[in-house]
């Protein structure tokens, strides 16, 4: 039995579009983006795919100079979100605070210089291994804030951030935590970049979600954190609820390791489960923040499912057109941007979209679009066929 609603009381975000949520939203509403060749690593490939890289210095972690970029990204977003929620260390100490963060790079031991030295029998030092062991994303953030609740790193590929927010909802509703720091974080990484290049799903041009002439995705980096809190804790602290995590649904395709089910069966089920969980009706959905990677397969499948399940032409946006595909961070970033769009009562244009693709069957936003402040959906589709969906609303059912 649910003991509480999952209230969102703080938001934090960092990505190529801006160093904070306050900086990001104006960029989205002016349609600016600037993906470019990666600057932090080199790749000896024929055609470079641009990336959405964070161009400024990240806030330093005063307690440990061995933090990974992913940890620092998570920390930057968490700091903003906690400040937004009016939470400081004194309050956190008195509460049952959980941390659940999705990532891919943040939990992968793929240090290439170390491995090259190992292969060459050069006796590499153990420091990169030690660094890996102290940089598990959720454990790092939980340790930084000395959180007393569960700390879980979700490694569910591209749906990780969404699954993290879904798990946070469960912890709040089942009275496991008073407060949860939830979302996703991921850095750009040469290994991942070459992996996606090898799969032939990256574009040499800026991505164009749902466009007829889309060529593939651009990778990105960043973090998005939401503070999810019980209504009892909200009442005790006397803070304002920004929105609610009303519903979460997840379902597998059981189809293919890297391609979505052509009929989108798993995504349909995930949306259906999340909608039922939220108690929302189809005609109450103000907009959908699509997974919208700009790959041929994803956009075709996702577009058709949306067109079929939401026949009333609900507005669809892909914020990845401004952030790139940030993998494990994507669900966290998109949850944050979805909430803020509901607050702002408008959603941005989907950058790069020009021509309708009948195979996608939807036209995403082509300009800033006013919406009512109601309920929205954020989709995530992952390698391995997992589909996860959040329903976020300004009021609970």
């Amino acid at each position: 039995m649910k003991t509480s609603f999952a209230c969102i009381t703080g938001l934090g975000c960092i990505c190529a579009a801006g160093i904070s949520l306050k900086a990001i939203m104006p960029v989205l509403y002016t349609g600016k983006r600037n993906p470019s060749a990666p600057s932090n690593f080199r790749a000896d490939i024929d055609k470079t795919s641009p990336v959405f890289e964070i161009a400024w210095s990240l806030p330093a972690d005063p307690s440990a100079n061995n933090a990974s970029r992913t940890s620092l990204l998570a920390l930057a977003a968490a700091m903003e979100a906690l400040e937004h929620a009016h939470l400081d260390n004194m309050i956190l100490k008195k509460k049952r605070v959980g941390v659940v963060i999705g990532t891919t790079v943040g939990c992968t031991l793929n240090n290439e210089p170390f491995y090259r030295a190992y292969r060459d029998k050069k006796n590499p030092e153990v420091s990169p291994i030690k660094r890996f062991l102290i940089n598990n994303t959720a454990l790092y953030v939980a340790g930084f804030y000395n959180c007393s609740g569960p700390a879980v790193t979700i490694a569910n590929a591209c749906s990780s951030g969404t699954d993290a927010v879904g798990l946070a909802k469960s912890w709040i509703e089942n009275d496991i935590c008073d407060i949860v720091i939830a979302g996703g974080a991921d850095e750009l990484c040469r290994t991942t970049y070459l992996g996606f290049t090898s799969l032939l799903i990256t574009s040499q041009e800026p991505c164009r979600p749902f466009d007829r002439n889309r060529k593939g995705l651009n990778l990105g980096e960043g973090a998005g954190i939401v503070i999810v809190e019980s209504n009892r804790s909200v009442k005790e602290r006397g803070v304002q609820v920004i929105a609610y995590v009303k519903g979460y649904g997840s379902s597998g395709d059981a189809h293919h390791p890297t391609a979505p089910h052509p009929g989108g069966s798993g995504l349909r089920r995930a949306i259906d489960i999340a909608m039922r969980d939220s108690g929302s009706k189809v005609n109450e959905i103000e907009f959908i923040n699509a997974h919208g990677t700009s790959t041929m397969d994803n956009d075709k499948v996702e577009g058709k499912v949306i067109a079929n399940m939401f026949p009333n032409s609900v507005p669809v946006v892909s914020t990845k057109s401004y952030t790139g595909h940030t993998l494990g961070a994507a669900g966290g970033i998109e949850a944050v941007l979805t909430v803020q769009a509901l607050v702002d009562r408008q959603i941005p244009a989907t950058a790069g979209f020009e021509e309708y693709d009948p195979e996608c069957a939807i036209t995403p936003t082509t300009k800033n679009t006013p919406i009512k402040s109601g309920t929205a959906i954020s989709n995530s589709l992952a390698f391995g066929g997992n589909n996860s969906v959040l329903v976020i609303g300004m009021e609970h059912a």
């Binding site: 000896d44 490939i45 024929d46 891919t104 992968t108 031991l109 793929n110 290439e112 491995y115 190992y118 292969r119 029998k121 050069k122 006796n123 030092e125 153990v126 291994i129 062991l133 598990n136 959720a138 454990l139 340790g143 007393s148 609740g149 569960p150 700390a151 879980v152 790193t153 979700i154 490694a155 569910n156 590929a157 699954d163 798990l167 469960s170 089942n174 290994t191 070459l194 992996g195 090898s198 799969l199 032939l200 997840s250 379902s251 597998g252 395709d253 059981a254 189809h255 293919h256 390791p257 890297t258 069966s265 798993g266 089920r269 489960i273 390698f383 391995g384 066929g385 997992n386 996860s388």
Partner: protein, 372 residues
């Protein structure tokens, strides 16, 4: 609402299937411990590793389909099939089954094989197959594809806290009615780089794990996978009930009737286990059967479930030589609860409980409790 352990599948250094774990506990089987030769610029070092054997997966999956599935994936798959077989249940509605897997380190060997592909042949020749299989959730995904499971499919990776997170998530899914069954599994694999890192971090140099000797490092690392089929119900369907999975810091409160420690000879975590040997109830540590790994407490859960089902607490495993001579614990250091023969579990009240505790290097613990 009761959550039952309905079936268990294991792949470990003892072999494949829960019966091999029982044989290990009864002293009828020994784990396979291989010697790895690690090369340095100025010489070589030997390291002992608990090596899992994967036999019988072709009973469930056609050999051609296994060609692109790496060894770690095969461990997870076989454990999953064995757990379902062990339960005797054939769930009809595959949309109502969830998968939640966890790993301390993920698919290490495939991650390094992917790096091999680009180091050996250049960035242009990075292998897409290896990349797809190097992603942490590839194990859960393959299981969902081959078992046609269409419920939620989640992967967790947070070192020693992984097992507890996997089990607590499974409990939540079942209690919330999201699914009717969950395949909950954890594992880790061996690879040369892990061997090298283990040596550098001070482990692997001893001959055997002595889990309750906290002043010396006797850590040998292992590999394996254990999967539980969990469902809502009563203990007449399977092994026992999964009561709770929770985390905390430093001190594990209260006395426990039966306490299984995930102590594995690692000196860093040993200091947190030391106070628990004064637990008033019985204390056991079984890592000498499966080897050290962040998710080793998954095997403790399997042993706890087996113990509750059979009504006995198995003795501490003594591997050298096997069960004889019966080496006494260090006087005054270990509670009288430790014996070397199976003891009956007193279940007169019907509330026999076993708690499995594991620590990470920072003193954060996970406590998983099972009951008959």
């Amino acid at each position: 609402m009761s959550i039952s352990v309905l079936g268990i599948g294991t792949v470990s250094a003892l072999g494949c299937g829960i019966d091999t774990v029982r044989e290990g506990l009864e002293g009828k089987a020994r784990p396979v411990i291989e010697e790895h030769n690690i090369s340095f610029t100025d010489g070589e070092a030997l390291l002992k590793v608990y090596k899992a054997s994967i036999n019988g997966l072709d009973r469930y999956v056609a050999r051609p389909a296994l060609r692109r599935i790496d060894r770690f994936n095969q461990m997870a798959l076989l454990s999953s099939f064995l757990a379902i077989d062990d339960s005797g249940i054939i769930p009809e509605d595959r949309e109502r089954i969830g998968i939640v897997f966890g790993s301390g380190y993920g698919p290490l060997q495939t991650t390094f094989s992917f790096l091999d592909s680009l180091i050996d042949f250049g960035d242009r020749c990075a292998s897409p197959t290896l990349f797809a299989n190097s992603v942490h959730n590839s194990l859960a995904s393959q299981a969902s594809i081959l078992l046609k499971i269409q419920g939620p499919c989640l992967t967790i990776s947070c070192f020693e806290q992984t097992t507890c997170s996997v089990m607590s998530t499974a409990i939540s899914w079942l209690r919330e009615g999201i699914v009717d069954y969950v395949l909950a599994g954890v594992g880790d694999e061996s690879c040369d780089v892990r061997s090298y890192a283990t040596l550098l971090l001070g482990g692997g140099g001893c001959s055997e794990i002595n889990p309750l000797s906290f002043d010396e490092c006797s850590y040998l690392y292992g590999e394996g996978f254990v999967v539980f089929l969990l469902g809502v119900g009563t203990t007449d369907r399977g092994y026992c009930n999964l009561i709770s999975a929770e985390t905390g810091e430093n001190e594990v409160s209260g006395d426990h009737e039966i306490l299984f420690l995930a102590a594995n000879g690692d000196k860093e975590t040993g200091r947190f286990y030391r106070p628990l040997i004064n637990n008033r109830g019985r204390v056991r540590a079984y890592s000498p059967l499966y080897g050290g790994m962040p998710v080793g407490n998954g095997f403790d859960i399997a042993i706890a479930a087996l113990s509750l089902k059979e009504g006995v607490v198995y003795p501490l495993p003594l591997l050298a030589p096997l069960l004889a001579p019966l080496q006494a614990p260090v006087p005054g250091e270990i509670s009288s609860g430790i014996t070397v023969v199976p003891e009956q579990i007193d279940n007169n009240t019907g509330n026999a409980r076993i708690s499995c505790v594991g620590f990470d290097g920072n003193g954060n613990y996970s406590l998983i409790t099972l009951a008959k």
